[in-house]
Symmetry: C2
Subunit: 354 residues, 2 copies
């Protein structure tokens, strides 16, 4: 697989299609699995890591004989390519920065991925645009079952799947959605959402997972299954009750803006577009901030003539590794700021009267 295929378009997670895609950017389920008879990775030596990755790679080839999961040796990739995969939400930061034999199996549409030798021996992930948790589940359950047919998972009849971190023991599942919540940020209602999430024992994270800022008004909401709770139950509640409720909060905030603060809203979204169309240097952070406003403006019909796909793509393609891939060269920070502004202008070139 050639990574340059990835760098010029948005990944599945930002395609912007799927149910409730005005608020729900993407849905994701990941399963943590480990192989019986091998130590967890914190205690595995280099030989064991290699054996593990060989075994898992073999299993992947066996279940996906059509080559629909390509395998990448993460440890053989350059820093920029690893960063590219992080920016696309295909591997974690830890996986990018880790040591030793490790890999990623990836489907062409980026909807399925398996991290090999990250925190657990396997981390299977299915990602879809919009709110599509059941579809994620159908796909990941099938992939998990087929891999489980080739590999012997570490499983305890009482505890369930054994994982490196105790919080994952049981189903080993985490379900998460990426929400775009500019309306609630502008109306200052995010604390309400955070409180509800806390009540429901949900984790709220930023754009790039744990410990990152909610840049671009993106919030990743995830639920960790716990011991003794069935996957189906959890998924049903998450996808049919909890997330639709958050979406409803955001819709109400947006309606309030349109009804009561139309001038302020229009001012924000049009200024954001104006700056993106004219800046000669711009940071990644400011770009996300402004794109978030423009996305809101497009979604609410306040901005016309700017395709939503262009905005969705820009969120990703203006990130450092993507930008350098597109330019075909390594760029220092200031050069990236200039290249980013040029790229954004070229994608958003103004039409008359806007």
């Amino acid at each position: 697989m050639d990574l340059s295929d990835l760098s010029s378009q948005a990944g599945e997670w930002l395609r912007g299609s799927g149910p409730m895609s005005d608020v729900v950017i993407s849905s994701r389920i990941r399963l943590a699995r480990n192989l019986a008879g091998y130590p967890f990775l914190t205690r595995a030596d280099n030989d064991q890591r290699r054996e593990l990755s060989d075994l898992i790679r073999g299993a992947i080839t066996a279940v996906k004989g059509d080559g629909s999961l390509s395998y990448l040796d993460i440890d053989k990739l350059g820093e920029m390519d690893r960063q590219l995969l992080v920016e696309r939400h295909l591997i974690s930061k830890q996986h990018a920065e880790g040591e030793g034999d490790r890999g990623l199996a990836l489907s062409p549409g980026e909807t399925e991925a398996v991290m090999v030798n990250e925190e657990d021996h396997l981390r299977i992930q299915v990602l879809r645009s919009g709110l599509q948790i059941e579809d994620c589940w159908t796909r990941i359950d099938e992939l998990d079952n087929r891999l489980g047919g080739e590999l012997e998972y570490a499983f305890d009849s009482t505890l369930g799947y054994l994982t490196a971190c105790p919080t994952n023991v049981g189903t080993g599942m985490r379900v998460s959605v990426m929400l775009h919540l500019p309306g609630m940020r502008i109306t200052e209602e995010l604390p309400k959402m955070f409180a509800a999430a806390k009540e429901l024992r949900l984790a709220v994270r930023g754009l790039y997972g744990e410990g990152t800022e909610a840049t671009g008004d993106f919030y990743q909401i995830s639920n960790q299954t716990t011991l003794g709770r069935g996957e189906q139950d959890l998924l049903g509640q998450f996808g049919h009750e909890i997330i639709p409720r958050f979406v409803e909060y955001e819709h109400r905030a947006r309606e309030a803006l349109c009804d009561q603060k139309q001038v302020m809203l229009d001012d924000k979204v049009h200024r954001a577009l104006g700056v993106l169309r004219t800046a000669r240097q711009i940071s990644s952070e400011e770009t996300l901030y402004l794109l978030s406003h423009v996305r809101l403006g497009v979604n609410l019909g306040r901005i016309r003539g700017v395709p939503l796909e262009v905005i969705n793509e820009l969120f990703l393609l203006t990130q450092p590794a993507h930008l350098q891939r597109i330019r075909g060269q390594k760029l220092e920070e200031q050069a990236r700021r200039v290249a980013r502004a040029e790229f954004v202008r070229s994608r958003l070139s103004a039409s008359p009267g806007q």
Copy 2:
């Protein structure tokens, strides 16, 4: 004279023509004069104020029989019209807010004006675009001589012209220029200019005189003639040495920006234009700030397709009283912010690719 003639165009002080007009917005000389046999205004009663204004008005009519100086009763104008004259630098804030009989005689091009019953009985003013101090002097000296032929000025052979404030005694003259110094502000070299001004005993004020902020990067530099110093000497030094030196400082700062910080400069000036073209509500202060950047960009050829006259006009026409005059109605602050943004957009409507 109908003030609505004034509200739709820039006054002389912002025409943007004349020598060194990329930096020197306007030149102005004012003379303070009082009539013999009358107390200064702080001690004059209402009858005396009326007598004074009748006398002075009569003299103005006598010397300008062609009606080239129209007379306005300031005390009969509404608040908005008085504010309009302040925004055009034709009367002082004090004159607008004062009490009792007071007036303004004004030439159609706004190059000549006489404030009647401000701090002194007469304040004669000549204003020109760009650096034209000698021309100001020729004109004001002639007007002063002709008025002096009709009126008996309070004059002491030792002290010179007697004025209400001791600092004006002598020539009663103040010469000032309005400079546009965005380059030095961006390169952070203004302290150098302030130090030089202090050394030369020059006063530096903001856009609307004493105690106002230097909004829009406009600085008013003025020299007060002192007792025992000839007008001609002072004017020569001010117009041929001091101001050209400040202009040179600003030119060097602009060159440094073009040579060494081109990206930063382009970023600032284009963003400023981008925001002005897209904002849906904007304060007077932010408008001045952004217009200042755009003016710099146009002057340096970094922004094309935006006529300098449009920018110069906008500095004035976006001020509160002008804006309300143009709209033909009184507007509260928030309504003004919206009207201002609309007006700016209409004047700066984008052409493709900008």
